[in-house]
Every structure is written in structure tokens, then in C-alpha cells.
Amino acid sequence: MLNVETQIEIMERPVPPVVRRRVPKRDVKTIDAQQGYSDQTVWMLAVKAQQDRAAFGCLFDFYAPRLKGFVMRTGMSEAQAEEVVQEVMITVWHKAKLFDPHRAQVSSWIYQIARNRQIDVQRKEGRPLPEELMHDVETEHDASQIMAMEQETETLKSALAKLKPGQREMVEKAYLGELSHSEIQAETGLPLGTIKSRIRLGLEKLRHELKELRQP
């Protein structure tokens, strides 16, 4: 059951950007389609649960042009950028099982895959990555946690859009790789505390499930 707060959050959640869709949302068969998740989450969960190609097509249409635009801003040529887009989308397909909507929103998960890919292309050593928390077993979805995660990401996006130009430029420059760690100011002007508590809850949920798996 959704509590009142969650219902209000759903009502207030900004409408996701209009996307060209090949398949109406209701045709993407997933247990979560009726829950009121964003389109991106619904598609991603359909790819994760049943390798749904139509849903993957929707993800491609939404993310490929954004990925390409972003990667090109970091100085890659158009051809290189499309190469990265291609590899990232294929990784999204194959690693969909590892997507955990309780800890990350789709854009943030795909962003991270893109970053790994870009660094692997640019450096021969590849990028050192933290140990992946194993997540092979399908766990129960906590809809209120997932929607709260999405809500936080939407809040973050609008906060980013509303930053003072100087501050926003600093954040963008940092993520385009134009600032070294000593030039980065941790004070971004973004409200990051609430999203952190959300992610922490998602992480605790996973830790709890992993523990139960080890001691049935």
C-alpha cells in the first residue's frame, strides 16, 4: 500500500520529458508498470526482468542522443562518441541484472557505465572499480523506496537547473573532466543530503538481503 506521502509525491512528480516511443507503456509487460514509476525505470526494469527488446528500444531512443551529446562535450569526435554510445547501450542490455532501482536512478546508472567505458577507451589500464555487491537474486521491489529515489533525482535535476550560473558551470566542468580534484569544490550548491539518505536506505536493504542469503 502506498502511504499518503508517497501518493502526494507521485502527484507532484514532474512529468518526465516527452520521448518518442515505439511501444505504448502499457505494452511493456512488467509487474511494475502500474506502480507509477517514471518511463525510464519501467523500461529498465522490463529489460532487467525479461530482456524486453521493445523496452530496450525505448531506453535507446531516450538515452543514446543524450549520451552522445554528453560524450562529445568532453571532446570526443562524433565517430568516437557513437562508438561509446554503442558499447554503453550493449553493456546496459547485458548488465541489466545488476541495476538496483533502490540505490540508483536509471540516468545515474547509465552515466556511470558511460564513464567506465570512456576511461577504458582512453587509458590502457582501465578504471579501478569498487567491488560490485552481488545482486543476482531477484529481490522484492519496495515501490515507495524506488519512487522516492526517482523523486530525489528529479529534485536534483531541477536544483541543478536553478543553480547560479557560476556554480552550475563549476559542476558541469567537473563532470566534463575539466577540473582536477584539487580544483573541485565539494560545495556544489546542490541539496545532496536527502538523496544520500535515500541511497543509504537502498544500500541497507541490499545488505540485509545479502545477509539473509548467506544465512537462510
Binding site: 542522443p65 547485458h94 545515474s108 546508472w109 558511460a114 564513464r115 530525489e152 580534484h181 544520500k196 544500500l203
Partner: protein, 211 residues
């Protein structure tokens, strides 16, 4: 395990999330995050910011055949690169740097050993093995020095560092860490340039030992 007290600084986590952190520091960050859920969550926060920046970027039109070529490759067998898991005191990214093999320790004298994982002109990262009670030579360094404790503990002028703790030393800090009595202290240490020891070993030998 005792709680981790010394964490990665926010600029370092943000630089790691942005992909701009140099390889030798990135390895230490990835190792600490493997051991620390606090920083794992904070890193996810900065990845969310990255996702938001990416979503807010102007879209670039995609070539007409790119989607088809992606779909055509979905069925192709995936050569999954085998990722190392953590082993013993070494978290997964360290095992990855060791290529799954045990460290090849080289003696530095006085029981201190090191195993270099990566050494470029940008900086270096190595494992250090310091017997309990042994002092690590007084040294200064160029750029920041990151030291992550994997086993045992050490103390210096700034405090005590136990398993999982990360010391971030600026270039102006000249410190003399001492391993705590008991089990040897094993650390993962990264620096922006070759370490310069002030005492303990003549400078002359430094190129040989690469310290």
C-alpha cells in the same frame, strides 16, 4: 571490524565519479569504497549528479543505423571480462591490480616491504608492509598522498588509522607514521610523485628501490 573513522574527501569522490581522478588515486578510492558503505553511498550521490548533468545536456542526433547495429549485436556472445573478487585483506580493485596473484614483495630493509602496483610519471601506487612497532621513514611527497589501511593500524601526528581508514596527506605534511604493535600493518598508498625520504635511506638508493 571497528568502524571506519577516516573517509574519502568529497572533492576526491566527486573527481572519481566524474572520471577525472588519476589512476593511482582512483585505485585507492575504489578500494576504500569497497570497504565503506558510507563512501559507497556518497559516491552514488555524485554519480546521480553526473546522471543529472548528462540528462541536462543538449542531445546530439544519432546516425540512422546505430540503433539497428546495437540491436544486431545484442545476441552476440558476450566475452565477459572476469573480474577479481576481494581476497583476504585485499579488496577487489587491489586484486584486480595484482591480476589475481599474491603481491610480489620487495624488501626495503628493517622488515619493511613494498609491492609496486603501478608507477608512471603521473604518480604511483603500491602496497606497503610495515612490521608492528616499525616506523615508516619520515618523508614528504609531491601532491597528496593517500594511504588506506588494509590490515593492522598506524599512528602519526594526525591520529590513528585502523583497517579501512584513509589518510589524506597534503604535500606540506611531513609525517612519520608508526605501525601499531602487533600484526604487521599493510597499506595501499598512492602519491603524485616518487616519495622523497629524508632519512633512513640515502637518496642515492632511491632509483633502485623506486621509492
Amino acid at each position: 571490524m571497528t568502524a571506519i573513522k577516516h573517509h574519502i574527501s568529497e572533492p576526491l569522490l566527486m573527481a572519481y565519479a566524474a572520471g577525472s581522478l588519476e589512476h593511482h588515486y582512483a585505485l585507492v578510492v575504489a578500494a576504500h569504497v569497497s570497504m565503506c558503505d558510507e563512501c559507497r553511498a556518497q559516491l552514488a550521490v555524485y554519480e546521480s549528479v553526473g546522471g543529472a548533468v548528462m540528462d541536462g545536456t543538449n542531445v546530439a542526433p544519432i546516425s540512422v543505423d546505430l540503433k539497428d547495429s546495437v540491436f544486431a549485436r545484442l545476441e552476440a556472445p558476450q566475452v565477459e571480462k572476469k573480474r577479481q573478487r576481494g581476497f583476504g585483506v585485499f579488496p577487489a580493485p587491489v586484486m584486480e591490480a595484482l591480476k589475481g596473484k599474491p603481491p610480489r614483495w620487495k624488501s626495503l630493509g628493517f622488515g619493511v616491504r613494498q609491492s609496486i602496483l603501478s608507477d608512471t610519471k603521473e604518480g604511483s601506487v603500491r602496497l606497503l608492509y610495515i612490521p608492528g612497532g616499525q616506523e615508516v621513514p619520515d618523508h614528504s611527497h609531491e601532491g597528496i598522498e593517500l594511504t588506506l589501511v588494509l590490515q593492522g593500524a598506524f599512528r602519526d601526528e594526525t591520529g590513528r588509522f585502523g583497517v579501512g581508514d584513509l589518510e589524506i596527506a597534503d604535500d606540506d605534511l611531513e609525517h612519520a607514521p608508526i605501525a601499531e604493535e602487533g600484526a604487521a600493518c599493510i597499506c595501499l598508498a598512492a602519491t603524485g610523485a616518487p616519495l622523497r625520504f629524508k632519512s633512513w635511506m640515502p637518496r642515492l638508493f632511491q632509483p633502485i628501490f623506486r621509492i
